[in-house]
Symmetry: none
Subunit: 526 residues, 2 copies
Amino acid sequence: MQQIFLYDTTLRDGTQGEDISFSAEDKLKIARRLDSFGITYIEGGWPGSNPKDMEFFERARAIKFKHAKVAAFGSTRRAKNPVEKDENIRALLDAQTPVVTIFGKTWLLHVKQALQISPEENLALIADSVGYLKKHEKEVIYDAEHFFDGFKQDQEYALKTLKAAAEGGAEILVLCDTNGGTLPWQVGEIVREVKKNISVPLGIHTHNDSDTAVASALTAVREGCIQVQGTINGYGERCGNANLCSIIPDLQLKMGYKCVSDEQLAHLASVSHYVSELANVKHQKNLPFVGESAFAHKGGVHVSAVMKTALTYEHIVPESVGGARRVLISDLSGRSNIIFKAKELGVELNDKSPAVQKIVNEIKEMEHYGYSYEDAEGSFELMVKRHTGEMKHFFDLERFKVSIQKDSLEKEARSEALIKIRVGNETEITAAEGDGPVNALDLALRKALEKFYPELKQIHLTDYKVRVLDTQSATAAKVRVLIETKNGNKSWNTVGVSPDVVEASWKALVDSISYHLLKHRVKSSH
Amino acid sequence: MQQIFLYDTTLRDGTQGEDISFSAEDKLKIARRLDSFGITYIEGGWPGSNPKDMEFFERARAIKFKHAKVAAFGSTRRAKNPVEKDENIRALLDAQTPVVTIFGKTWLLHVKQALQISPEENLALIADSVGYLKKHEKEVIYDAEHFFDGFKQDQEYALKTLKAAAEGGAEILVLCDTNGGTLPWQVGEIVREVKKNISVPLGIHTHNDSDTAVASALTAVREGCIQVQGTINGYGERCGNANLCSIIPDLQLKMGYKCVSDEQLAHLASVSHYVSELANVKHQKNLPFVGESAFAHKGGVHVSAVMKTALTYEHIVPESVGGARRVLISDLSGRSNIIFKAKELGVELNDKSPAVQKIVNEIKEMEHYGYSYEDAEGSFELMVKRHTGEMKHFFDLERFKVSIQKDSLEKEARSEALIKIRVGNETEITAAEGDGPVNALDLALRKALEKFYPELKQIHLTDYKVRVLDTQSATAAKVRVLIETKNGNKSWNTVGVSPDVVEASWKALVDSISYHLLKHRVKSSH
């Protein structure tokens, strides 16, 4: 099977997307994840364009990647600068990456109007920018910006720019459909023409403005491109870049190319979710292969056929990309979902267990109020155990009082929480300060409980999310808080909903702590 | 120019999408809108499958459509029923539409496993179902379900099913990629093969499971299909149907076919928004052609080029599909983004204005802290006006104190805010209760200020969003709050960031109010 090399630009081109931004820390996390997923090239950013990207490259040097090579991205030198004095080229070297990707102009419209230089000067600066980086022993990838538009305007000149980059020593020439306006068969014809004239390996970089970015990338591979550039979830400027989460399974499951191992491919959905989570944008349900709806069946006819033979309404095996079949809620599927889920938690229920209907009813009621148990399996488990009589009671709240004060003399607001709890016949009252009201309440609650339950010292909150439901009610809207807690390697998620963000957090905190105590006490009593 | 006939199934296949549902009233509204937009066929539903669809057909009969024909959808008769006694066929006639679309099985896998009849019986029921509807003077469209999968398994049989429908008298035979697993060039080859054997006009119906539904539909048109089935915004089961909002401009602006008039095409974006509004789902920003981001530019290099020549980074003229160019503000912005934006706000800046660099610097600093101005143009405008000396000062905070209390006796937490502000030499102290701390603070602040600024009574908070930045710091993480405020038809967005959700909300509230006061006072002083 022919290998296709994946070039991920989520961390650079992806951040051009509206609402997409990553901290340097996020970028490092994503890079590690892309590495273990089997991506060959990870484009980290444009050094020199902003301090965040520089920080990424500095810290990335300390990471030992298993497979991936980090690439720094930038433009060819400016026309007025000798290459060794060009700041942008300097920043690319300062990033100290094994790979440097530079883009140059193909389209005479841009050469004349944006750069305002002659066609020959443009060729010269492509060749010597690439050559200079090669002298510094970089693997150089040349991105031919607007290649397809340029080719349509002046085929001969477009090829000359590629030849200039090839003469400079570029390892791969990437044909970019920067404006996303080229249709797949046009991409195919142009790649075929380029192949006749150029012997250096080719890559493809497409955008989704015509809603055909994936098809164009696949077509280019059929015509001989060996590198595909894209982003996770198709994030990117305007309508986004070609979506690697679609391209990889199309190439590997349908077209017989090799991108990653089968085992890595089974992590596709989780990589997709991970990146959307760090980008802090909602994961799009209808994304091909990786979306929550990708293998969801709603129509009754479809569901019953799928139960007989999955192939009837599923184009691939969902598990091959880390997905799973879903049957959307009807009363009956509700019961079987619960039985299936409870089994995962080690609780044996069957269709006749009276608890099942009670759980289905409680879930419907709670979800109607605003709860969601999809990402809160900790809270779901507590609910199941309450209905099966396996839950224990650990403490009661007498009261809490949280206050946030700000005055003209202080720079930041100050938050404090006072709490009184009861465990059996004993009570404890205490207080804490925190970074914001929720943090103060969290600290005060633990302080009060640790006297009774010293094992709470083992656990740490590691994630905290807030989602405003029904945003139209503005500041009076309900909010849903999701908390992730860790004990060593084990983590669990809990949820709380209220019009009051502090109270919603309180509910999720109580579940988080009860979950740990339940697990810990059950274990110790054996 | 060759005419392509558009067949919209938003009201039927679109509603199979997760989270998509329409009332009969919604369906009628959408049908009217699709008619004036220039759609030829509007598939209204599956009569007999639910009462809502029957209501739609009844009420649709009273509407005089300018151009569109309403189609009722259903399956061929059941094997055990004579056609004139089949309930489904009966319901199709009862719908009293000029057009009936019926689907039949192509794929032997389905014939054997789902229908459990012989291949010959299947051919017979296709032919007589179509024939019976023709006898009742319907225009009959035949949807060949799973056509491509069936063709791959048994080419000869797949063609026989089409011939059966043709013999029955079907006007158009539609090739359906029901599972969405077929790639565009496979679609192209198969359509070409069908054209050699079948003389009845062909249509195409694709799904987006391989992320290539649009490309497949376009390819089929190139191979001679004259009808395209799809949905507005690509709504539909799993990953959705082929998106007509992409197909129409691709065909018409890039491929030289005629779908609707140019004037109608300029309503594409508004049709897309209208349908998402009635479906009550968020309009996806990155949708090609019609998304809010489709012509949005973020990177400084792009913005400065677009301002010289739009063609450099725009594949079509945004206005041709009812879109508009947007420039986003972020830490990737350069001076040209700021100048462009300021101009939109009525502030003339040029590259030499000293304020420009100060604004760029402040944005970078604030975004590093966690701010984002992309969706907070109100806060951005205030920042610009501070730097150009056009900002006014309306009030100072002396102090606020917000408290949240919960005790064992009360069901819900109670939030109160006390606030003291100063306006000139006067101070005002007041308090309010609210649904949660932010709501309480919002109410108290307005109460205190309305004494000085009665015009604040005109404005209302209409949206409130919270995003936890760096979720890993758990409850001590910074949060970003975005607020939308309305005054009549005009709305503006403001932002605040702090580790304390109440303080972050406070900052966004202060900007929201200052924005209104600034606009109002400037207007009144003229």
